[in-house]
C-alpha cells in the first residue's frame, strides 16, 4: 500500500483533529470521498475538526453516510490484522491520546507501518511489540472503512 507523500501531507494534523486526519487518509486510499473530505467544508458536509471519541465518529459517519466499522475492545488486533491483510488502511489509536493511520504490515518480517498525521511525510516502522505498546497507549479503538478494498495503483507488467 502506498499513498504519495504529497497526498499524505493534506492530512497533517494542525488542530487536534487526529481521528479525522486518520480517517480521511483511509478515505483517500479507499476512494471514499465523504471520508477523504472530513477535514474541510465540501458538498459532503461541513468540516469536522477537534478531538473525537467513538460515538462522535459514529455520529459524523452517519451524517455523511460513511460506511465503517467502529471497533473497540480487546479484538482490535484482529481487525488491524484484517485491514492490513486485505489491503485497507485503518485509523487506529496509536500513542497517548492520539490516532494515526495503520499503513501496512509485513507479516513475515514482523513489522507494522504507520503514518503519523503529525509527521505525514514519513512512514514509521514498528516491531510487533512496539506496535502493541503504541496501540495500547491510546486505548483499543480502531475505525476501518467498510467497502471493497481498493486496487493497488495499476501498472503495465509484461505477462502476455
Amino acid at each position: 500500500m502506498q499513498l504519495p507523500t504529497e497526498v499524505r501531507q493534506w492530512f497533517r494534523n494542525f488542530d487536534g483533529s487526529c481521528v479525522q486526519c486518520s480517517v480521511s487518509m483511509c478515505g483517500a486510499w479507499c476512494n471514499v470521498p465523504a471520508a477523504t473530505t472530513l477535514l474541510w467544508d465540501t458538498e459532503y458536509g461541513p468540516a469536522v475538526r477537534g478531538g473525537s471519541w467513538p460515538s462522535r465518529v459514529a455520529d459524523y459517519c452517519r451524517r455523511r453516510d460513511i460506511k465503517a466499522f467502529n471497533v473497540t475492545g480487546s479484538n482490535t488486533w484482529d481487525w488491524m490484522e484484517w485491514a492490513a491483510k486485505t489491503g485497507r488502511f485503518a485509523a487506529i489509536g496509536a500513542g497517548r491520546a492520539h490516532f494515526q493511520t495503520e499503513y501496512g504490515r509485513d507479516q513475515a518480517a514482523g513489522r507494522w507501518y504507520v503514518c503519523n498525521n503529525n509527521s505525514p511525510q514519513r512512514i514509521d516502522e514498528y516491531s510487533n511489540e512496539s506496535f502493541r505498546r503504541l496501540h495500547l497507549a491510546s486505548g483499543q479503538w480502531v475505525v476501518i472503512l467498510d467497502g471493497p478494498a481498493p486496487p493497488p495503483p495499476p501498472r503495465y507488467i509484461r505477462w502476455w
Binding site: C18, V19, W53, R62, K67, V71, A149, I157, W159
Partner: protein
C-alpha cells in the same frame, strides 16, 4: 446477536459527549473512558439506518479475508453517458453480476471500485498507466499474490458499446489468458518481479472517438431501415486515351480477335480488287492469295452450334 454492552452503553454516551466538548485533545480522556465502557464492541455504520437500528454488535470478528478477490475498476468522467451506461449495466446486467455485486461488496466476486478521473484525491493512482478515454475498465489480480503482482494490468478496456455480454466475455477471456500464462510460468514476468514496460499496453489502443451507444427506440417496435436513395448512374468520362485503351482491350478479347481477322480479310479483298481494276501488279498470285485467305479463315471460330450429345 446484540452485545449486552450496548444496553449499558447508551445512557452514558450522552454524558461522555458533553464532557468531551470540554477537551481539546485529539483523543480526549473521555474517549478513553468510552472505549472502556464499550468494551468488545463493533459498530457497523452506514448500513442499517433504515430500520432504526443504530448499533449492530453481532459481529465482533472481522469479516472474512477477501484478499483473494480480483479487482475490477472503472474510471469515469463527468457528463459521460457511456460511463453511466457501464455503471448501470454493472448494477443490473445478469451477464456482469457473476463478476460484480454492486449492492453488497462482500458478496461480489471482485472488488469493484468506480473512480472519477476529475477526483484529484485519486489522480496519483493512475500515474503508472495511460488513460486514453472513458470509461476505462481495469482488471487486476488479487492482492494475496496468488496470481502475481496485484498491480498488473490484466485488462484495460476503453469505451463501452452497451453490450454487457460482450464485456463479460472480454473480462472472462482476459482473466483466463492471464491465469493460463501465469500457470505456465509462475516465475516469469507475471510473478511480481516482472519488468515494468513503459506505457504501451498489449491491447488494442482506445478509440479516439467514443463508440456510439444505441439509444433506446422511441417506438415499441423495430423500425425497418429506410431505403437508400438512388444515386445517379456514374457517366464515363470520354477522352482519346481511354477510347484507344478500350479499343485495344476489346481487340484482345476473343470477339475482338474475330473482328480483327474479318477486317484484315476485307482489307486484303479491297486492295486486291482495287489493284486489279487499276491494272496494277498484284502482290500475290491467285493461288498464294487463296492460301492466305484459307489460313485466315481457319483462325475464325466456328459459328455452327455444337453437335447434339446423346444422353441416357
Amino acid at each position: 446477536m446484540k452485545h449486552p454492552t450496548v444496553r449499558l452503553l447508551l445512557p452514558s454516551l450522552a454524558l461522555s459527549l458533553l464532557a468531551a466538548s470540554l477537551h481539546a485533545q485529539d483523543v480526549p480522556d473521555v474517549a478513553r473512558d468510552e472505549i472502556l465502557r464499550r468494551g468488545d464492541f463493533v459498530e457497523r455504520l452506514g448500513r442499517f439506518q433504515d430500520d432504526g437500528q443504530t448499533a449492530i454488535a453481532e459481529a465482533l470478528e472481522p469479516p472474512a479475508d477477501d484478499s483473494y478477490k480480483w479487482f475490477i475498476s472503472v474510471v469515469t468522467t463527468r457528463k459521460c453517458r457511456y460511463c453511466d451506461a457501464l455503471k448501470h449495466d454493472f448494477a443490473t446486467s445478469p451477464h456482469l453480476k457473476p463478476f460484480v455485486d454492486t449492492s453488497d461488496h462482500a458478496r461480489s466476486w471482485a472488488h469493484f471500485n468506480v473512480f472519477s478521473v476529475e477526483d484529484q484525491t485519486q489522480s496519483w493512482r493512475w500515474k503508472g498507466i495511460k488513460l486514453g478515454g472513458f470509461p476505462t475498465l481495469l482488471v487486476q489480480p488479487p492482492r494475496n499474490g496468488r496470481f502475481g503482482d496485484p498491480q498488473t494490468v490484466v485488462l484495460q478496456k476503453t469505451g463501452y458499446d452497451g453490450d454487457p455480454a460482450k464485456l463479460a466475455d472480454a473480462i472472462r477471456q482476459a482473466i483466463a489468458a492471464y491465469a493460463r500464462r501465469y500457470a505456465q510460468s509462475p516465475q516469469a514476468g507475471v510473478h511480481g518481479e516482472g519488468e515494468s514496460i513503459g506505457y504501451d499496453p498489449p491491447f488494442s489502443p482506445p478509440p479516439r472517438v467514443e463508440p456510439a451507444v444505441p439509444s433506446p427506440s422511441p417506438y415499441p417496435f423495430d423500425v425497418p431501415p429506410a431505403p437508400a436513395p438512388v444515386s445517379p448512374t456514374p457517366q464515363p468520362t470520354d477522352n482519346a486515351l481511354s477510347l484507344l485503351a478500350g479499343l485495344v482491350g476489346g481487340m484482345l478479347t476473343s470477339g475482338g480477335l474475330t473482328n480483327l481477322l474479318l477486317v484484315a480479310l476485307s482489307a486484303l479483298a479491297i486492295i486486291r480488287t482495287f489493284r486489279k481494276a487499276t491494272g496494277q501488279q498484284l502482290l500475290l498470285e491467285d493461288a498464294a492469295y487463296q492460301n492466305l485467305i484459307d489460313s485466315l479463315k481457319s483462325l475464325l471460330p466456328s459459328q455452327s452450334p455444337p453437335p447434339p450429345t446423346a444422353s441416357g
